[in-house]
């Protein structure tokens, strides 16, 4: 079992950049920005008035009334993206494979639209009763449960909540589960839809949000911008995928995670460094093989500085040969879905086009790497890495390899 390999055979995306994985990747490569004025909720009492809303995503386009009654927007996005990913993979999960397929999704906040709206009704409007399905709608495991129910996935299934690292932890767990023989396939990734008045107020309070734009690694950066979306991947054990002639989008070769055990919000050089080293070591990947790093890159002063220093620690002189971009500049910080949306970007880079860090204005000596400013770069990418470093000091890093047919 120890030599089992794990490949990606399907992906699906809902984001501010598009409603399919292809649309998401094309927009990233073209340097399009999904961040804009908040339109889905009233903003008169918010000081932060921008976000990466998936404005084109409307539940009614995909679900009937009785389905919407049970699916918060966070579940709607996850289940639509899962349908796309599974259709692309061509995998059929009936019978034995269904029982050997895991469902592991990251989500930080669960059904926030449901929670926000109903708190407003009971606290704000004094209502004394709420709709009967509030609990099944808002629970953080609702997205993973619906994905498993929609497709008959009967293996291990759970959701992971590690803030901004949730979906990298989920992808890493799914990868390890298949590699170790605990499952033969997995539907994994993450989903988040927390652009509610209450959640945005909370983020305002922390004072780490930009009022203008997300400009990772730029000297002029002034904070993060929230986003929403979902990205779902189908992972399969390599031999099984080959046997059925599946298109292979890339191989997952390494996963590493660590805890800073330091501060609840400040990132740590040591924690980030250990997670990256652990992922490289898990995949027995020589660091000089890595060509692209999809950075955590939140565009806070502290994260980007610390992450660049950690990259220099891990890669030494090879750091100057890396392309390092933060696609959060385009799709916003989608918290529990961030790692999964960024994994789709990372897999796309294996094709030879590295997505840019947009919104870049001015070099910062503390971030003096090739941060792929504003325009995509073409290069050979045999291996790539995707970083997620969460509030709470929980770090998760995934390393992928281009599929060259063997």
């Amino acid at each position: 079992m120890s030599n089992r390999r794990v490949v990606v055979t399907g992906q699906g995306v809902i984001s501010s950049l598009g409603l399919t994985a292809d649309a998401h990747v094309t927009a990233l490569r073209e340097g399009k920005c999904g961040i804009g004025a908040i339109e889905l909720i009233p903003t008169e009492n918010l000081t932060i008035k921008i976000a990466a809303e998936a404005k084109a995503f409307k539940g009614e386009d995909y679900f009937g009334r009785s389905e919407i009654a049970l699916r918060d927007r966070v579940t709607q996005m996850a289940t639509v993206a899962a349908k796309e990913a599974i259709a692309q993979s061509g995998a059929v999960f009936d019978g034995a494979l269904g029982e050997r397929t895991a469902t592991i999704l990251g989500t930080s906040m669960g059904g926030q639209q449901t929670q926000d709206e109903n708190y407003r009704l009971v606290y704000g409007e004094g209502k004394t009763r709420v709709h009967p399905f509030i609990v099944p709608r808002l629970m953080a495991n609702a997205p993973v449960s619906w994905v498993s129910m929609d497709h008959g996935l009967k293996g291990p299934a759970y959701s992971i909540s590690t803030a901004c690292a949730s979906s990298n932890h989920a992808i890493g767990q799914a990868f390890h589960l298949i590699r170790s023989g605990g499952a033969d396939a997995a539907v994994t990734g993450g989903t988040e839809s927390g652009l509610t008045w209450g959640v945005l107020k909370g983020w305002e309070g922390l004072r780490v949000m930009s009022k203008t734009a997300c400009r990772p690694f730029s000297k002029t950066r002034d904070g993060m911008v929230q986003g929403e979306g979902a990205a779902i991947l189908v992972l399969e054990e390599l031999e099984r995928a080959k046997e059925r002639g599946a298109d292979i989008l890339g191989e997952i070769v390494g996963f590493g995670s660590s805890a800073d055990a330091g501060d609840i919000v400040q990132p740590s050089l040591d924690g980030a460094t250990r997670a990256m080293r652990a992922a490289l070591s898990d995949g027995s990947v020589d660091p000089t093989k890595i060509a692209y790093v999809n950075a955590h890159g939140t565009a806070t002063a502290m994260n980007d500085r610390t992450e660049c220093a950690a990259l220099r620690d891990v890669f030494g002189s090879h750091a100057d040969s890396l392309s390092v971009s933060s696609t959060k500049s385009a799709h916003g910080h989608c918290i529990g879905a961030a790692g999964a949306l960024e994994m789709v970007a990372t897999l796309s880079a294996l094709g030879g086009t590295v997505p840019p860090t947009i919104g870049y204005e001015e070099p910062d000596p503390d971030c003096d790497l090739n941060v792929v400013p504003n325009d995509a770069q073409t290069r050979d990418v045999p291996y790539a890495m995707s970083n997620s470093f969460a509030f709470g000091g929980l770090n998760a890093v995934v390393v992928v390899k281009r599929w060259d047919g063997n």
Binding site: R65, S66, A69, L70, R129, H131, P132, F133
Partner: protein, 87 residues
């Protein structure tokens, strides 16, 4: 009053069951109409909202609830009793 209550309950049930209101007869049972256990809870909620009453309904064991919802007419009678108690 009885006709009004009957009409309102029929239309609530028709909406939840996603059928035409004409199919909802006083003698129909909710399972006849294809209402599942979650649908039943939604109907109870909709009745509470419509008539501003609190329906003594326990989803653990609907048949043991004080509120009889075994048929459309039983539900209508139950609503009228609750409204009378409130008056």
């Amino acid at each position: 009053m009885s006709d009004t209550t009957l009409d309102a309950v029929r239309s609530i049930i028709a909406e939840q069951a996603m059928i035409d209101v004409a199919e909802v007869k006083p003698e129909s049972t909710l399972s006849d109409l294809g209402v599942d256990s979650l649908g039943l809870v939604e109907i109870v909620f909709a009745i509470e909202e419509k008539f501003d009453v609190t329906v003594p309904f326990n989803a653990n064991d609907p048949s043991a609830s004080e509120f009889d919802i075994s048929s459309v007419q039983a539900a209508v009678d139950g609503v009228e009793k609750l409204r009378a108690a409130q008056a």
